[in-house]
């Protein structure tokens, strides 16, 4: 919650529309409303979806902003709505965001100004980030995954990742149909860590949502375990923004 009563807290930033768009489109696959924690070093957002299946942890350094004038505070924002408004802005257009006397957010871009109340963030929980140690870490381009994602959508509700020594096989099976995507070490991905085979299944719906946030052509680090959450890490805006997505697995009972 932002402090109430004695005046209002300073929050005034200017930033390229592209950066904001990046931030919001990374968050919206998880949730429509977020609690933004801002201080002198930059922004941080942690959010989970209502079912606690997917989580995002995003950091954006103050260096990504054109102008940054912020006292420590927490803001509830409807990012879905903001993202909608940003669609009309050009990539390098400067956006100004400012908190006014009545704790309303003012967003201005070129000749357009929007004002809206903050979302009450008091009810937002601070998600606990699980401490994961995953045996496999791979570096690859998200385009490699998008291919399989598209193909599996008509097949099943979930995807299985199976990583052995020299390849990562992603499958989606139901009844008689199946999709198999084989990625080879050295050609489609670079191995960063391999401490033993890893196999986990994930909801296709959720995974597709995350991939929407990742985008179609981005270098990512993929971490997999055995019936353990999946972790995707990547950077944006020249490394000034860092993202971590976590996705809980499906665990079939014996």
């Amino acid at each position: 919650m932002f402090p109430k009563g004695t005046g209002h807290t300073m929050f005034e930033i200017t930033v390229k529309s592209e950066v904001l768009r990046n931030v919001f489109s990374i968050l919206t696959p998880i949730t429509g409303e977020i609690k933004l924690v801002a201080d002198k070093d930059g922004w941080r957002v942690r959010a989970v979806d209502p079912a606690h299946v997917a989580m995002v942890d995003l950091e954006l350094s103050y260096g990504a902003f054109e102008d940054y004038n912020v006292e420590p505070l927490e803001l509830g924002l409807n990012v879905e709505r903001l993202l909608d408004h940003l669609k009309s802005a050009k990539a390098d257009e400067e956006i100004m965001m400012k908190l006014d006397q009545d704790n309303r957010m003012i967003v201005s871009m070129s000749n357009l100004t929007l004002k809206f109340p903050l979302v009450d963030s008091s009810g937002f929980s601070d998600p606990k980030v699980p401490n994961l140690s995953l045996p496999v870490s791979l570096k690859l381009n998200s385009a490699e995954l998008q291919k399989g994602l598209k193909a599996s959508q008509s097949i099943s509700d979930y995807l299985t990742f199976n990583c052995t020594e020299d390849k990562l096989v992603i499958t989606s099976t139901e009844d008689l149909s199946s999709m198999t995507l084989e990625l080879k070490k050295g050609s489609e991905y670079i191995e960063e860590k391999f401490e033993g085979t890893a196999k986990s299944s994930f909801s296709l719906d959720y995974f597709s949502q995350l991939m929407k946030g990742v985008g179609t052509n981005r270098d990512i680090m993929l971490h997999i375990g055995n019936s353990y959450p999946l972790k995707i890490e990547f950077e944006f805006s020249d490394g000034l923004g860092k993202v971590r997505y976590l996705l809980a697995p499906r665990i079939e009972s014996a």
């Binding site: 429509g32 409303e33 989970v48 209502p50 079912a51 606690h52 299946v53 997917a54 989580m55 909608d84 998600p127 606990k128 699980p130 994961l132 959508q153 299944s201 909801s203 719906d205 597709s208 949502q209 929407k212 353990y228 959450p229 976590l246 809980a248 697995p249 499906r250 665990i251 079939e252 009972s253 014996a254």
Partner: protein
């Protein structure tokens, strides 16, 4: 590529692609421009003719522009079916939600969704609890609008539509309906454009089956080879052998379904090949090892490639039968007519075996044309069949002639508003006062005159009943008047939000004001069983003695006076019988009754038990809330009874059923094995717990780790499957 009319959002073509739609049916082509125009619309087309797509496109057209949509369906089963179709739209970044569950709860995340699917009862309660959200809707779709004709649920739907119609900025209203005689009247009421079509993607030939002769509407006849001499049996044999297809037969009683299916299995048996036999065996295995008569019959029917489908089966069992029928492992399915109103389960041939049914005013009352046509309309599987055949069975040539006239050539009935009934009036008037929708007599009459009832009748006919209702509501303390103004009291508002008949609230309220010497499970269960919202069990002649004996010595537990009057006494006794039913279920007489025992005692399958339990839970909740409001101090006792009814258990099992995956049966086994608390489970090892019958290692591990405080979620099934989706909180 489908060309969309001007004014429809461009991204709708994306959705059509997701659903693999390559071509539009004529009614769809007719409806799309109306959707684009933003006008209200009533769509009357036969089942399985692409009605749903019209609804989906109407919703997309608004939500893609940032509006919200509400989809109202009559049954939960339908809500789930629509949900699974609409879920695919998540890929387009849309949020879809199913809203059912407690009527007075406020789903916290509701307004985050673009499309909300709800039953009409839930939608009505949303109107009472969440008027704000509903006023932001861009479109509402009401499915199966012809059910406005239904005395029980029709008024609710009618009131919802009226409310929306009356909004200052009303949303677009799209109504889907089966073919009815007065579609024009419905569309005139809603100021809507009418799309009325008899188009079907699969041709339907209707007819009458008499002896081995099938007569079509043009009086052309065809003979079925006589093998057994039983017309339906011979039709099934012909369909299976010659066409390699399936038959769906509608029978009006559950028992009739069961016997017919078991009998048919003896003949169909020899036509089942090895592969299907394996699949059927698999279904039988998944049905579990229950020993109830119903399950035994279902198993023996399945062994011969036949099955039955009715509300006595649990959701899970019904799901298994539906799946096996869709995969064609089941060749002949016998179902009660509820199937025709609900899920989509088409077959090459459909037979309506019984065209009359029991009604109190006429034990052989003919089923309305509308309903028979809906059953016949299930014939013909899109994409598989060129043609479907829907037949009504006649016992002799005279009857054949009569049935041709009544059903095959006959016109569908018109539908009529049922809002004029007293229960509908008191429920919906109270709700209008409590939401502030209506604040005085003038507003009340404005509301009444916007209804379909008023469109069809003169409102002065209602004056007497309305006055009587107002008097009742005021006397019972639900409303108060100041001159022309009318307000709901706090009690009245609570009752409206609880979504119960005000008359039930009066029963609960009076009982709470008359505390018994000793409150027991019986006290509470008898009270809720005497409300109109919990259907009582049918009283048989021989029950009188049993019940009187049961009541002896229990009088000081009662929370109401035993009536003197003969008719009231009947009503009272059946509430006692219903209470006994719940008492068996929660093991009040020693141990929790098994499903087999419940069937033996009360002739009820798991599906019946579930639906009664859900109604009882709702009434218990209402009683608890009223108890709080009246400060009677029974709240925690009622809560405890409610938990017991929910799970069907004695008090000592309450801590155990809070564990996910543990229902009444496993809880009892754990208890018997000495695990009497969460603590004792925590102290045991996984292997020790896994030794208890019916609990494998996976479950043992999951219950051991589930030590969190909040596990009391309502589960649909008594022994829920574990959701394979884990949560990040587990790691």
């Amino acid at each position: 590529m489908i060309e969309l009319p001007k004014g429809l959002h461009k991204r709708i073509s994306e959705a059509l692609k997701i659903w693999d739609i390559e071509d539009l049916y004529p009614p769809q082509k007719e409806a799309f421009p109306i959707i684009a125009s933003g006008k209200n619309m009533v769509v009357c087309v036969p089942t399985a003719s692409g009605k749903s797509l019209i609804a989906y496109v109407a919703m997309l057209n608004k939500v893609l522009r940032g509006g919200k949509a509400l989809y109202i369906v009559p049954l939960r089963a339908l809500a789930s079916e629509k949900y699974s179709e609409l879920k695919a739209l998540r890929r387009m970044g849309l949020r879809i939600a199913l809203s059912y569950g407690d009527y007075d709860s406020e789903d916290a995340n509701l307004e985050r969704n673009d499309i909300v699917i709800a039953t009409s009862e839930k939608a009505d309660s949303l109107l009472r609890n969440r008027a704000g959200w509903l006023s932001r809707l861009g479109v509402i779709v009401a499915d199966e609008v012809h059910l406005m004709n239904d005395a029980g649920r029709g008024p609710t739907l009618e009131v919802i539509l009226t409310r929306f119609k009356q909004l200052e900025h009303p949303p677009q209203i799209v109504c889907l309906s089966a073919t009815v005689g007065n579609a024009d009247e419905v569309s005139a009421w809603l100021d809507a454009k009418l799309v009325d079509s008899d188009f079907r993607p699969v041709k339907l030939v209707e007819g009458v089956l008499e002896g081995n002769i099938v007569t079509d509407p043009n009086l052309t006849t065809r003979n079925i080879p006589i093998v057994t001499g039983d017309p339906i049996m011979d039709l099934i044999l012909e369909t299976v052998e010659k066409d390699n297809a399936q038959v769906l037969t509608f029978v009006n009683t559950r028992k009739g379904c069961e016997t017919a299916a078991a009998k048919a299995a003896l003949t169909v048996h020899r036509l089942i090949d090895k592969k299907d036999r394996e699949r059927l065996k698999d279904v039988i295995m998944k049905l579990g090892s229950g020993e109830s008569r119903m399950l035994k019959r279902l198993r023996s029917a399945l062994e011969g490639g036949c099955a039955f489908h009715h509300a006595g089966l649990s959701n899970e069992q019904r799901g298994l039968v539906e799946e096996a029928f869709r995969s064609k492992a089941i060749r002949a399915l016998y179902a009660t007519p509820t199937l025709a109103a609900g899920i989509n389960l088409p077959a090459r041939r459909v037979v309506v075996r019984d065209w009359t049914r029991y009604e109190t005013y006429n034990p052989r009352s003919p089923i309305p044309v509308l309903e028979v046509k809906q059953m016949l309309g299930r014939a013909g599987r899109p994409r598989y069949d060129k043609e479907g055949e829907g037949l009504v069975l006649a016992r002799d040539p005279d009857e054949a002639r009569e049935l041709l006239e009544r059903y095959i050539w006959g016109k569908n009935e018109s539908i009529f508003s049922k809002l004029g009934s007293m229960p509908a009036l008191r429920t919906h008037l109270l709700s209008s006062f409590s939401t502030g929708h209506v604040m005085d007599r003038k507003g009340m009459w404005e509301f009444i005159s916007s209804t379909f009832y008023a469109h069809q009748n003169d409102t002065w006919k209602l004056e007497g009943d309305v006055e009587e209702t107002l008097l009742f509501l005021e006397e019972e303390g639900f409303i108060y008047t100041e001159g022309e103004k009318i307000f709901a009291t706090d009690m009245g508002k609570r009752v409206a939000r609880l979504y119960i008949d005000p008359l039930s609230a009066v029963v609960l309220k009076n009982a709470l004001m008359m505390p018994p010497d000793e409150i027991t499970a019986f006290s509470v269960l008898q009270v809720i069983s005497s409300t109109t919202d919990v259907p009582s069990l049918y009283l048989k002649a021989k029950d009188h003695d049993t019940l009187s004996k049961f009541l002896e010595g229990r009088h000081d537990q009662l929370m109401m006076d035993v009536p003197e009057d003969q008719v009231d006494m009947e009503w009272f006794l059946s509430s006692v019988k219903t209470a006994m039913f719940f008492m068996e279920w929660i093991g009040e007489n020693g141990s929790e009754a098994s499903e087999e025992r419940m069937e033996e005692l009360f002739n009820m399958g798991p599906g019946d038990i579930r639906s009664r339990v859900e109604k009882a839970l709702w009434m218990l909740y209402a009683m608890r809330e009223l108890s709080r409001l009246l400060n009677t101090g029974f709240s925690s006792y009622i809560d405890m009874i409610s938990l017991r009814v929910e799970h069907g258990i004695r008090e000592e099992l309450i801590p155990l059923v809070k564990l996910k995956g543990i229902g009444r049966i496993r809880a009892r086994k754990l208890f018997q094995a000495g695990y009497r608390s969460l603590d004792s489970i925590n102290r045991a090892t996984i292997d020790e717990i896994a030794k208890v019958g019916g609990i494998g290692r996976t479950l043992a591990a999951s219950i051991k780790s589930a030590a969190g405080p909040d596990m009391s979620m309502m589960e649909e099934d008594p022994e829920p499957e574990i959701d394979p989706q884990s949560s990040l909180a587990d790691f």
